[in-house]
Subunit: 210 residues, 6 copies
């Protein structure tokens, strides 16, 4: 599926394979992981291909791990059985918030893949214990703002990514002071704003899956 947040466009695809990685074999448990990448022309200035450079950069690693971890928070491995779902999130166009768009889209692809397995009677129960969505929030010129585009992201004093479940609990909180360190009141405002944003996304996800 193709997720669009403003001008950011991410292609999210789930691949289902029978079996699990070697270290998990025979456990009766499934596995979910993710890989994130950007096309070289997804940004305004072309960036070099990581395949050509021969190694994956720290940022790509970090985001791939974040997406996988976020989705695994709502997965019941026993119910999934020894199946692996791999989520590919490829950014076709980037204008800020690619990692949160990827998480939000990857959840929908994951739910689709689970339906596919359910239709094929390949599950031992209901593997999804909730839904997952994510937003980026930040403080710009002193004001908390939702869904930063690239230009805003660069200007933000504080940049925070929030991953929440559909019922409003936190899976991941990642806030970084890009400019001046932030105080507790600012942090509280960002958390409230992001929680509201994820509520909206949860509705859109339900519509997409309906």
């Amino acid at each position: 599926m193709l997720v669009e947040f403003g001008r950011t466009r991410v292609l999210c695809a789930a691949s289902v394979t029978e079996g699990v990685p070697r270290w998990r074999k025979g456990s009766g448990l499934g596995w979910v992981s993710a890989e994130y990448a950007m096309l070289p022309r997804s940004t305004n200035t072309r960036s070099d291909r990581e395949s050509v450079k021969g190694r994956i950069g720290g940022r790509t690693h970090e985001i791939s791990r974040l997406i996988g971890r976020s989705l695994r928070a709502v997965v019941d491995y026993k119910a999934l059985g020894e199946n692996t779902i791999l989520l590919d999130c490829d950014v076709l166009q980037a204008d800020g918030g690619t990692r949160t768009a990827a998480i939000t889209g990857a959840y929908v692809a994951l739910a689709d893949a689970v339906s596919y397995l359910r239709d094929r009677k390949a599950l031992k129960g209901e593997p999804l214990t909730g839904s997952v969505s994510a937003v980026s929030v930040g403080i710009i010129d002193g004001a908390p703002m939702l869904d930063l585009c690239y230009e805003e992201d660069v200007r933000a004093e504080t940049d925070m990514n929030l991953v929440l479940t559909g019922d409003g609990k936190f899976i991941e909180v990642q806030g970084t002071a890009e400019g001046a360190p932030f105080d507790r009141a600012e942090l509280d405002a960002l958390l409230s704003l992001g929680t509201a944003g994820c509520e909206e996304l949860t509705k859109l996800q339900l519509e997409a899956l309906a």
Copy 2:
């Protein structure tokens, strides 16, 4: 631009940068090259990312070189001046003929990039000496056929990629006997069929650029 040949879809983008690679500096000549890659889910069975494997496979290398070589055949480096045009061809969906689709689409992206440079008065003349298009042809059950999709490609006894200029001359001829070796008569039939196919593509390219 997005090129679609049957169910094959390739995203072709040109990036223009001032200056040329180091080995060419001060020569007054420009440079054109290409990078080809497939998204992991572009094929029916997911393939591993080359960035994760840490090295580019032989096939990817080969096709990237073929695309670059094909386009360079119609470029006048002096007229281009010390500018570099890099063509990214990313396969979103693959159903046979991705390399020929990439060449055909990359030419259009190249012509667009040249127009952009012309509008900015950054050229020393007209760098394109012609147009380029490419088709795949093959022999299936003894009959020559144009534009093989994946299933046909696998069944083909002979697989040939042809790159031609808009006025019907050959830039590249690559024929491989997948099954039985082919004789001169079969080779002649494939060359004629491919020449006709490229004529059609040249017309479509002109329309796209108009």
Copy 3:
């Protein structure tokens, strides 16, 4: 300097070099970065060397970036002038909280390096705008706890790393639901506990530097 937090021991060393990385030359600004690594026998079960594997793992990358980012939050690059300070954090023994120990110790090494430059009259002003310390907090059996050791870390439902300035502002907030997602009240309790922990560390840092 050698930092010890419970049984965790991290060797933090600062290396000062005149000049800055190429992309920053001529800007008049300094640079600070960090590299984190674990000795193979720092953990109970020996882990493979990343130099032998030929690539740095995602976790190592992530922590190196976190340490560098945290310290840079209190650095005034203009006052530093075109000098580079590189912080090496090598874990000799690991028992939970290695990344927060590394940040806390790296700050002391950084402050030492700045004193060294100050003594040599190599600075253009006072490059440190504050101090930095970090703690890990978590929820274990429903209760918020400070400074998790490895065994607690594994049992924690939620694991949070907090990086604060000496005057109690946030530089980095990284919370992850390892088990069940956490609600806002739990998040608030963790933030308060961590803030108090960093206050203590700030005092110890001042003593170490006195």
Copy 4:
């Protein structure tokens, strides 16, 4: 065996191992592949070792694949049984046409290896369905020419490699316009010239094997 074409010298050796690569196990079918490399001093100007650079270049990959593909065209895998024949083609001295020399020599090494297996009663039938030879042809100053040496190769407007069976059928046709694109008449002339050249080589191969 050492193949010499003009001043080009290629060492071709076949290595036979029982068993096949993992993906082919249990199929009852054999496997043939090839590796091509140039010694650093085989060219006039020393080229860097690919082992030192840590990666195989696109050209080396491409030629290794071409040699393997060409030889496999005359191999009956069932008759070979689950044996693997690996052909090493190492260029000691290069003066144009190293890939075609390598194919021609590798066929002789392959036929030798098959004889060795036949003598040891390790075959299930006759694995060679024909012989293989290869030539390079090109257009220089408007005239089609056979067996280009390095200096001619550089000057050639069109460069074509042809791989044929002993009975004159095509296995591989690879033509590239280095300078001006070529028309159908020129292509026809090159195909005829190359076919005649391969006939000669087939005779020489028979003599070498006798």
Copy 5:
């Protein structure tokens, strides 16, 4: 264990695992190997991390192999049974003679590991047939000297590493003329001096193990 020779400090740790590398499985024989590395700040001028460079340098490889080979000279693999002992030698501070310090310390760690296995009744006999120690000797301003520190090492005309058993036999002799080649008399003097030095070390090792 931490070995100190003058200002050189090396952390030597043994890791015992049941089983042996694949190529040795089912042989009934054990295995001993070693890995050597320097922390980036162990030298006066910081050296780059090999994990960051993505490849182990020749010197590191060479020393790791030397340590493993030296220790294996006193190991009876049958008595060890199918167990592997891996010795990690990490240089915290370097001031000449790190490889000989590593060997001397690694022997003590090895003997400790063997005791551990003996206590757990995991051995089939006594795997150590002797002890191992090592020294560096050199010719400085014409005079043979023992235990060169870094400054002396740089000035030495000849640099020799000797590895001996506890009963004074040679396991390894590595002498290199850094400046002028050396004659037989000088070589004899170095061998005698080193033999005496290793006798001293053997006593210290016995004390450490007592």
Copy 6:
């Protein structure tokens, strides 16, 4: 030049380039280094290509460094001027003693390269202060022996490589106890035997250069 010692055959070639590596520029001093490699079929059982494995093994590194170091012992860098001589030693056939054959042959190639530079008046003096040759000696069934072939090498209890100048001084002494450690008397016997062997080789080198 092709060196043959028994059945061992090594191709030694010198490449001269004006200028020196970056770290040596402007010093007025030259540089000499070496690269050693084995063709995959030089051994009885084919070994994998290091270029395909993507990294050079420890043994290759070690031998390349040994060859370079040995030759540099007789080079006067000032007289060489800012020129670089790179020696490629490629083993075509291996039957023991490849490293000593490589050193002995590389010296001849080096001397040839120096003559070439002398003829072109590119030297500032006489860069060779002596000649270099090398032999392998060992103890087999208790008896010291010269020039071990592969089979003897495997059986040797002690294996020693000696590199000497033409006037009988030692450049490198590398002895390893493969089986039982060796005593001083055995060491003395090996040194005498090797010294005599190198004397013979020095004569052969002079003849080759005459």
